[in-house]
């Protein structure tokens, strides 16, 4: 490993803009852990940079070399020796390779230990007692201004309180050596934003692992009018997975725009458990069905060669029936218990609208049978002596469903939400602190106003200048020109 693990000491000061006294307060924790070299290795931000750059670089390989192709394909693309070398490094399945996962694991280790290591410091920064600050530090703070007041300290303190409160800063105060220290802060908890973001990444990793070990992806083709109680993994040697219930595809509907582009793939699904319907839903590509921890996605479809679905209704008796027709293998089909039979005798098409035309032969035992052409999908009225029938014929489809079980997905989503919120907190909010020290020097009341922000210095300077102005316009207080 070629990551230099140099002393990170000088850089620690960059990690936050804390006052030196914060540093002193934290020093004990830091030095304790710094002694262990393995711990130190994993807290190093150099390691994090190494991981980030290497992950970025390695990921490129997988986008250039086709993934999960056949061995023959790699030989064809790159020649024997390179293909063999790739095989050795698991490049054909790179994102699941030992070294890529190892890199991710190293990264996760780095992140975990770094976060644990930093937690006490950040916690301390968010919760520390800022009234216990050394006065020397206040006198050296970047943003500061001194005022004086003609009144006694008591009155000056209550005036400071009023001015601060008017500016939206609620103060706490304490008697300290030489005077009164007042303190006010905004959003100290934003210090913990970094932890939220780092933990969110670990959560996403954890969720992905849960999904990998406790979930699966599978698929199944269900012809219209059929059902299944098993689904299949993509590896053929894997046995079918029993669902514990059945999924039936009642109908598959394919529609097109007038430009000929597909508009919608829709499957009417019914879930049955112990013979009872427990759920039904018509799914489309972006709207899956969820049941029992599984999600059923519309993934593909297939027209079943030589099979057609038909729906026939008797307009007089209102009786309806569904049929599965075959062409050309068998021709006529009978409505059970009735004297009606019909079938497809010829097929032509498709036309501009991608529809096929069917030639139908229909007989109800009264007079001559009817023969006529009709369009796929549209219904046709068949006039017969003393009665009429409505008929719709479509190709018989099988719907292709993708099935996913992923109990980790909510962990991943929680991580995602945490990451976004954490980033917003880190980058768009800041921990702002203002101290006011009121003291009596040579019979005069002196007021030191100073403050600090860990982000957005320019914005904070504006805030401070506005605050100075408020002090200067107070009747009791004047700017100290000395």
């Amino acid at each position: 490993m070629f990551i230099p693990v140099g002393p990170d000491n000088e850089h620690r000061y960059y990690w936050f803009n804390f006052t030196t006294n914060d540093l002193i307060a934290l020093k004990t924790i830091m030095t304790k852990k710094k002694r262990n070299p393995i711990w130190k290795f994993f807290t190093s931000v150099k390691l994090a940079l190494f991981c980030l750059f290497t992950l970025a670089g390695a990921s490129i390989i997988g986008t250039i070399v086709p993934q999960n192709a056949t061995t023959g394909r790699y030989i064809e693309l790159y020649g024997h020796s390179t293909a063999k070398f790739f095989q050795l490094l698991d490049i054909p399945n790179m994102y699941d390779s030992w070294w890529f996962l190892g890199l991710l694991a190293l990264f996760a280790m780095n992140l975990t230990i770094c976060t644990i290591d930093r937690f006490p410091h950040l916690w301390k920064l968010a919760t520390m007692d800022n009234l216990n600050t050394k006065l020397d530090r206040l006198r050296k703070m970047g943003m500061r201004k001194v005022f004086s007041a003609g009144s006694n300290t008591q009155e000056a303190v209550s005036e400071v309180q009023t001015v601060m409160a008017q500016a939206g800063w609620k103060t706490k105060q304490r008697q300290v050596e030489g005077g009164t220290l007042l303190f006010s802060q905004k959003s100290p908890w934003t210090r913990l934003g970094v932890i939220v973001v780092h933990v969110s990444i670990l959560l996403i990793f954890a969720g992905a692992l849960v999904g990998k070990f406790y979930g699966y992806k599978a698929s199944v083709m269900i012809p219209e009018g059929s059902s299944t109680d098993v689904v299949y993994r993509s590896t053929p040697e894997h046995p079918p997975i029993p669902l514990g219930f059945t999924v039936r595809c009642n109908k598959f509907l394919l529609t097109y725009y007038d430009t000929g582009m597909p508009k919608e793939f829709r499957s009417d699904l019914i879930i049955q458990r112990d013979g009872k319907v427990v759920k039904r839903k018509s799914i489309v590509v972006n709207d899956p069905l969820q049941y029992d921890g599984l999600t059923f996605y519309q993934a593909s479809y297939q027209a079943i060669n030589g099979q057609f679905t038909a729906q026939l209704s008797n307009e007089k008796t209102k009786a309806r029936q569904k049929f599965i027709l075959q062409y050309p293998t068998s021709q006529a089909i009978k409505w059970p218990g009735k004297n009606i039979s019909f079938g497809i005798v010829d097929v032509s098409g498709p036309d501009m609208m991608r529809r096929f035309q069917y030639k139908i032969w229909f007989s109800d035992g009264k007079g001559q049978p009817s023969t006529f052409w009709m369009n796929q999908g549209s219904s046709v009225r068949i006039k017969r002596p003393g009665n009429s029938y409505l008929l719709t014929v479509s190709p018989r489809f099988a719907t292709g469903l993708q099935i996913a079980k992923d109990p980790g997905v909510w962990i991943v989503y929680t991580g995602c939400i945490m990451m976004i919120l954490g980033l917003i907190v880190i980058f768009f909010m800041s921990h702002r602190r203002i101290w006011v020290f009121v003291s009596e020097e040579k019979g005069k009341t002196s007021i030191l106003v100073c403050g600090q922000s860990n982000k957005d210095k320019i914005g904070f300077e504006k805030t401070m200048r506005a605050l100075y102005k408020r002090f200067a316009t107070s009747q009791l207080i004047v700017e100290d020109k000395s």
Partner: protein, 287 residues
Amino acid sequence: MNSSQLLNFTTFAYLTASILYIAIFVFRAEKLGRLATIITLAAWLVQTGGIGLRWVESYQMGYGHAPLSNMYESLVFFAWAIAIIYLWLEWKFKTPLIGAFAIPFAFFSMAYASFSTQFGSEIKPLIPALQSNWLIGHVVTCFIGYASFAVACGLGIMYLLKDHHERNKKGKKSSGTSIIDNLPALPIIDDAVHKTIIFGFVWLSTGIIAGAIWANEAWGTYWSWDPKETWSLITWFLYAAALHARLVRGWKGRRIAWIAVLGFISVIFTYYGVNFLLSGLHSYGSQ
């Protein structure tokens, strides 16, 4: 009036603004600043109208979807986002000199959208996979991110130019003033690069997450390492590295400027290369 007229006008206006901004930079004609800003703002407003109108037109055609569904529409949105981010930056930093390094990106994006023969500009209906509200969320967030990175890249180039110039000057002693001296001071540019990268990073993170959630709604996997996803993650890793290097290791100036340029190359690859170069590579390989 239809949306393509408005968008054609926008292309032309961004070209005009680019020329003006470059003139301001090259000839130190800061007096033109007001005009360049007004043209850019007008172009942006017209473009907003154009995008809105295109949305309405898609409803009139019976397809009804947000104009974010293909290469053409995303390029238009990209230009739109660059222009508004730039205008915000100009307002914040009170100088039109950055314009020469940002608005040309908006123009190129529009010009490429309008004149490329690789894809059409007609309004097309949405294929089933794109029929989701996540389409809007995903595309908008990603492209605001990409646009910030474009601006960060422009600022990075500006930084490198100025930095190079100042180091030369030190060696040779001052040889009169140059246009480059007009650029904002290095620490100010550096700060602007950092802020735009941060802004882009938050949006890109949100965009990748929106894409993952969408993929999970549509296919049942939130992450499948396909080239587009992977490249967006590469880009994200790069910028994450830049943020840490700066905060913790104190990288500043030149290094961050280079990362801003490199990061934007990665953005372009994510956006363009994956669609046209990588697939080209694969189909070339399969012949």
